[in-house]
Subunit: 362 residues, 2 copies
Amino acid sequence: MRELQSQEIEDIAVGAAILGSGGGGDPFIGKLMAVQAIAAHGPVRLVTPDELPADGLAVPVAMMGAPTVVVEKIPNGQEIGRAFAALSSFLGQEVVGIVPIEAGGLNSMLPLALASTLGIPAIDLDGMGRAFPELQMVTFHLGGISATPMVIVDEKGNQCLLETIDNLWTERLARALTVQMGGSAMIALYPMTVWQAAQHGIQGTITLAERLGRALREARQTNRSPIDRLLEVGHGYRLFTGKVTDVLRRTAGGFVRGDVRIEGLDSCRDYILTIAFQNENLVATIDGEVIASVPDLIVVLDAETGLPITTEALHYGLRVAVAGFPCAEQWRTPAGLEVCGPRYFGYDVDYKPIETVRLPWA
Amino acid sequence: MRELQSQEIEDIAVGAAILGSGGGGDPFIGKLMAVQAIAAHGPVRLVTPDELPADGLAVPVAMMGAPTVVVEKIPNGQEIGRAFAALSSFLGQEVVGIVPIEAGGLNSMLPLALASTLGIPAIDLDGMGRAFPELQMVTFHLGGISATPMVIVDEKGNQCLLETIDNLWTERLARALTVQMGGSAMIALYPMTVWQAAQHGIQGTITLAERLGRALREARQTNRSPIDRLLEVGHGYRLFTGKVTDVLRRTAGGFVRGDVRIEGLDSCRDYILTIAFQNENLVATIDGEVIASVPDLIVVLDAETGLPITTEALHYGLRVAVAGFPCAEQWRTPAGLEVCGPRYFGYDVDYKPIETVRLPWA
């Protein structure tokens, strides 16, 4: 067990937004919520699963919907507690650990804010090791755990308890509710034992996010290249350097979808990189050739500061570096690729691990 | 208390489809379900509210969605029991009376089938005295009763418990779920005390349906005009006689919407009647003049047999009589008209009671 104070929270927010691969929500909003909670209720107790009873109840919480909406409709911090309490009360069991469902500027922070507020430990793992747009895209799903009973709430006070026949139906029904609720909603789902969380989750995601965020902060303070430090800590690859010249973005059906076009600078001059996204960056293409794709992480960073730029924050004129990081091993299995490989998202390409990419100018 | 056997069920199914004003589902499917239930579990006990404890729990059940879909996706009779049991279990209270939410070929029968199956009395009232397409269009809503907690289920096994801030939100969220569930779903909602049901419901709807159905049957057996008998028993008006020459019908958003065009015969020759519908018949127009509108009942009947024709069964070539019946008094108040007057449905006309209509050839 260790305690997370404001400094750790700031680092985690930035690092989680990097792992968020463009999705998972804005790190600034997320950080504010967690820092406020800590000021009011004290530090977050971060634990590994073996510090909790194996048969205790662990519950992931998250924001669902289009991150573009959350920027306008900032969560007040109460909703997530309402979803959490309703699920716990339905199960008639006390929750011993709160779990982030994914890494992301907001979706890593919401569980930490709730952990501080309720005085319940947060468990240092998640269900993606990155962010993904749909509910079944978690390692808990690969592990056969049901997403339901699930509670979904909005900021107005509407609430819904779902019990479905499978996790694809959960996604389908919860997405329709999210759209009606205004494009974003708060959820508590995949209730499981601590043992199941340990068995099927991706270990150490919060600590990894913290290391990434801290590396970035320290590099900026010591005049080292923040991006090189990030690639070092995260075992990543620099895919591209350039300027954003076009963003096509559409918020519909409970997602934000679009493409960003980046014109190369320096060694990438004369090349154009396109990234397709659905909440998260999905597929990066140069001249029709895919150079990186889900489930690997495609991360757009500010070229100067190395700070991550989420898909809803992309805009004309930004100078950016694009980095690729290998995803968790679970996603590289046939079952993992079926759930969130490029074909699931409608791209007729085979997944190639980021380690094998050859860049045209290399 | 009286017992309903197969003959009563047959009469009620037909009479309820007449009151259904084109909606509320197919009387043939509804009748089959109820008759089967009675064969297996015995007759339905039909009671008036004063035969039950005033503080006992009364629960309406219904089919929600587009009747066009139900014809293809016939309910198996289990779903409605599942919705009912889930709501009763959530409330932790035994249900003493089952209530039809509306009159309709299917939606009057589902509660009776369930009442027979579970051996729980059905209460002789409903929330509309007719059928309407949306959840808040019930006199229980006018009486300030919350539609939630509400349970919605599909035939696949998905289930959702809604708790909303008002009944318009219930309609909105449940409609989105219905669409995802394939266009129709089974619901249990507006849980209330028997006293509230008596206070706010429309009394005697099942008995009225039975009287209409029986009048039709007996008129056919005695060679009297079935339509004249119906108008007599239901205090209705003959609005039109003609032939269906066009039906525009679209099933989308959890409703069936459209228009039917009827060319006049006999005294109506040279006139064309158009009826706009959304599950139910909403507005009847001759040469741009509205001759009848919601909340009054507009009913299309087979010109020969007097049997009601639901909006999903309308087709080219049918010879029909169109009848108008006055709605329940609750709907004629300003509050009632706000909920289901013509303006709610987008028609910029004032509601005129059917009793004041002047037909162009009269």
